[in-house]
């Protein structure tokens, strides 16, 4: 499938965030049909040294080459998509994600991740989240190790 070459990724304005975690609740609604948030959310807001930090997949796609069964693909919109029906739960993508943005909940063996759906953006009362568009070639990463580090 040919993709567009551009991809929507989340941008976070920490100074606007009030720590209400509505984004995480909205996210777990998308992935698990529950408002629990927490480990069931693909977006994570952490408070470190009085500062809010957001962590979610930036669609760099290093995991694409990790998947042994081809469950990870770039969709037409260029986001990295995990097909639960193909996934065999090996956790390789979780282990190898350099920013630890591939998630795993105790509820099921297959991981999940940010799919740039925008649910978090819509619920944020402070407008601390928005989409920006990036060129895939600028962000894409390759998994194969170079020999000798």
């Amino acid at each position: 499938m040919k993709n567009s070459g551009k991809v929507r990724v989340l941008k976070f304005y920490d100074e606007r965030c009030n720590g209400c975690l509505e984004c995480m609740k909205a996210c777990s609604m998308i992935h698990f049909k529950t408002k629990e948030g927490g480990e069931k959310s693909a977006i994570k807001i952490n408070k470190i040294n009085k500062k809010f930090i957001m962590n979610a997949c930036d669609q760099r796609g290093l995991c694409l080459d990790m998947c042994p069964v081809g469950a990870l693909k770039r969709k037409k919109s260029s986001i990295v998509w995990l097909d639960k029906k193909i996934c065999i739960g090996c956790q390789a993508c979780i282990g190898f994600c350099p920013i630890n943005a591939m998630r795993k909940s105790k509820d099921r063996i297959e991981p999940f991740k940010c799919i740039s759906c925008g649910a978090c953006i819509r619920v944020c009362p402070e407008k601390a989240l928005e989409f920006i568009e990036k060129d895939i070639n600028d962000i894409k990463e390759i998994v194969y190790h170079k020999q000798g580090v």
Binding site: R74, I88, G89, G95, I109, E110
Partner: protein, 771 residues
């Protein structure tokens, strides 16, 4: 170089595409026997039944796995031993009708979360050794066999014509069909059958099939390996992993089996139905992260696989060169890993089972074949691994492309690269000494470095050439030694000392001359000289951390037991110590990698729901290990004389070898044996070789004494009934066999320690109770 993130559909291997009329081939199949079974879920890692097939009468039946069997034999190789014990006789040989070929899985086999969890264990009576050979292999067959419903498959008897066995987990049906038109060579037949039996014409369906096969070489030699396929959705071909050692493929073809195929309906990350999938995912993810962060600074497995060892072995004088005469060579850098790195196809997950991020199974795509029946075709070569490159250096072949050629043909012909390479290296040395020559080698100029001659030997074997040399050479070093001695073509001492076999099996590719513990690691083994029991060279030789006989014996107890454990569970050993946590050197026992041992404790508990600790893991292995040795005793080959090793593995056989490392050996004579420097200066090389020879032979016997004692065996290497009872075995037949053997040994005066001890030296306490 290929960059990453190429969509799977877009990747092109560049290989020659084979076209067959598969309908026509399939129409020729006649069904010999069929059996329908009820599909059941796996419970905590066990299918709880095994599959028995008898090819003489076309019998197919299920056998129940009892709780007692799990307790005593755990699974995998342990189950294989139990099934063999119930089926063969003490005089069963590899080609006896009742000999079995067994493929087993193990309770952890098929897990996708922890790297290295897709191994099958294969057992049979080996043509090379006349005792049990076990071989650990990757590929999808083991996991699929279990998910199709069986912890093991045992095949007895022989078919009248070529057959394939189909274990269809989709339909719940086993069938034996004749297969007259299929190719025999593995890279071809695995493609044919994958396409023929795939439910749909797509990669997902093809990925749910795995095939075991062995080619024309296996049919015509004792070096037959089994090729286990794993379909690669990117390259769009079934790739191959080998159960190499001991002639398993020879037995497969002797039974007239062209292939065994297994197929699953579906599988996922919890097909094993583990007791605790949350812990499993946690332990697995932790190891993935370690590999992500540390592999590039440690072994570089993800980049070059086991080939990273070549330069290390060369550096430490351990890379076998010219039939183990030397451990390093000026040309060795031509085979260093960077040369293979240039050839490997990159970007692709190279695990031989899903989820293995160690990814050591490297390939070279679109390799142009240079000789033989596939000359000019472009193929995928699976490998080479370190051992195969080591065969290159052992035969003095320094061109990576010829190593690939050797690798490709050995694989597709179903020849074990190790036995083939080590044997040919020995023949080459005999050629150099004139013990063999062109005439005696059926017209082949088999001198060191002649890569084309090596390939000619292989092609002639595969084509069933009946020349005297090819017929005997293809049966391995032991038979060639006997042939050379019978014809009186050379000095018996040279022939026996240079040919690197023990128990009839060829050595794998490490030089052990300066490590006594590793000599034991090859000699004091169950199946023969293979490094999967213990690899102690660095501990012993480089770090000197096991200086005494007692220390070495402890290592030759612990490590063989520990490494056996992987085979009981369907696991690969590599993720244990080919990546280590960054704080490992600071732990109390770095060589054991304590954190990873704990991972395995947690892992086995998480799948099986047991509550074992690390001591229990060793006990599981000890049961299996002693049982296998006891079975070797029963088969007539489990005593001290069978643990003999050739002197080439202990020290310099020839004057040239001595001179090449003169400083080392002169120093050894002075420091270890206590001869003054002045005296050494005046001695002839032959005299010095003899003194080292006698000293090291005695050291090996003393090591054997200490190891037998530590393992709870008699001084003749026989497990005592007392030891067996302590491990929980009550089988009266086995206990009687051991008792009778010990009584016979006693009468023959064999229950004595083998080393010569002076007053200051302690011999192992001989106060063992036998029964």
């Amino acid at each position: 170089m290929l960059e990453g993130q190429i969509p799977i559909e877009d990747y092109e291997s560049g290989n020659t595409k084979n076209k067959w009329n598969l309908n026509k081939i399939k129409l020729e199949h006649k069904t010999i026997s069929e059996y329908n079974y009820i599909k059941k879920d796996i419970q905590k890692g066990y299918a709880n039944r095994t599959l028995y097939i008898n090819l003489n009468e076309g019998i197919i039946k299920e056998k129940k796995v009892t709780e007692d069997m799990k307790k005593l034999f755990t699974g995998g190789r342990g189950f294989g031993l139990k099934l063999l014990w119930d089926s063969i006789k003490s005089n069963t040989r590899w080609n006896s009708n009742e000999n079995e070929l067994i493929i087993t899985t193990g309770p952890l086999c098929g897990t996708t979360q922890y790297p290295g969890s897709g191994k099958s264990l294969c057992l049979t009576i080996s043509p090379s050794t006349d005792i049990i050979c076990d071989s650990n292999v990757g590929g999808f067959f083991g996991p699929y066999l279990k998910f199709a419903g069986f912890d093991a498959v045992e095949i007895q008897g022989k078919a009248k014509e070529d057959v394939i066995i189909i274990i269809d987990g989709e339909k719940g049906k086993i069938s034996i069909e004749t297969a007259p038109l299929e190719e025999t060579n593995s890279h071809m037949i695995s493609q044919q059958l994958t396409q023929m039996y795939s439910s749909e014409d797509d990669d997902k369906s093809r990925q749910k099939i795995s095939i075991v096969s062995a080619g024309m070489g296996a049919e015509n030699s004792y070096w037959g390996c089994l090729n286990f396929s794993f379909y690669d959705i990117r390259r769009k071909i079934p790739r191959l992993k080998q159960a190499g050692r001991g002639g398993l493929g020879t037995v497969l073809r002797d039974k007239k089996i062209k292939a065994i195929l297994t197929k699953v309906e579906k599988f996922d990350g919890v097909s094993n139905n583990p007791a605790d999938s949350v812990t499993l995912a946690k332990v697995g993810t932790k190891l993935h992260r370690e590999i992500r962060d540390l592999d590039r600074y440690q072994c570089n497995m993800r980049a070059v696989g086991t080939v990273h060892l070549v330069e290390i072995m060369d550096e430490y004088d351990l890379l076998p060169t010219e039939n183990y005469r030397f451990g390093s060579f000026p040309k060795a850098s031509k085979l260093y890993s960077q040369n293979f790195y240039k050839l490997f196809t990159k970007i692709i997950p190279d695990g031989c089972w899903h989820g293995c991020t160690m990814a050591c199974a490297k390939t070279v795509d679109h390799f142009t074949v240079m000789t033989g029946p596939y000359k000019g075709e472009k193929v995928t070569v699976d490998g080479p691994e370190y051992e195969t490159v080591g065969c290159g250096s052992n035969m003095s072949i320094w061109d990576p492309l010829w190593v690939l050629e050797f690798n490709f043909y050995c694989d597709t012909y179903g020849l074990d690269t190790i036995s083939t390479g080590t044997s040919i290296a020995f023949y080459m040395e005999m050629y150099e000494y004139g013990i063999l020559n062109k005439k005696r080698c059926d017209g082949i100029e088999l001198c060191f470095g002649n890569a084309e001659a090596v390939l000619e030997v292989i092609h002639r074997i595969a084509s069933g050439d009946k020349g005297e040399f090819i017929s005997i050479a293809s049966k391995g070093i032991r038979r060639v030694k006997d042939w050379l001695i019978k014809n009186n073509w050379g000095d018996i001492g040279i022939i026996e000392d240079c040919g690197m076999e023990s128990k009839g099996l060829e050595y794998s590719e490490y030089v052990t001359k300066e490590s006594l513990a590793m000599q034991g690691g090859y000699g004091l083994t169950l199946k023969g000289p293979q490094h999967d029991e213990a690899w102690l060279i660095f501990m012993d030789m480089v770090n000197n951390s096991i200086p005494t006989f007692k220390d070495k014996a402890e290592a030759l107890h612990y490590f063989p037991m520990w490494r056996t454990w992987f085979g009981l569970n369907g696991l690969c050993k590599l993720p244990w110590n080919d990546v280590e946590p960054s704080n490992n050197p600071k732990t109390d026992d770095p060589s054991k990698v304590p954190e990873h041992v704990q991972n395995y404790v947690d892992y086995q508990n998480a799948v099986t729901g047991w509550n074992v600790d690390k001591e229990e893991l060793i006990l599981q292995s000890e049961r299996c290990y002693n049982w296998q040795r006891a079975m070797n005793v029963w088969l007539g080959r489990g005593s001290r004389k069978d643990d003999w090793i050739p002197y080439r593995s202990m020290g310099p056989v020839t004057v040239m070898e001595y001179i090449s490392r003169r400083e080392r050996y002169d120093k050894y004579l002075n420091e270890k044996i206590g001869i003054s420097e002045e005296k050494i200066e005046k001695m002839k090389i032959e005299e010095k070789i003899k003194i080292i020879y006698d000293y090291r032979q005695d050291q090996y016997q003393k090591l054997s004494d200490a190891v037998y004692y530590r393992r709870g065996w008699t001084p003749n290497g026989v497990p005592t009934p007392n030891k067996m009872k302590k491990l929980g075995f009550t089988d009266p037949k086995m206990l009687k066999i051991l008792k009778d053997k010990i009584i016979t040994d006693e009468k023959a005066g064999l229950n004595i320690w083998g080393g010569k001890y002076n007053n200051k030296e302690k011999n192992p306490n001989d106060g063992i109770k036998y029964w």
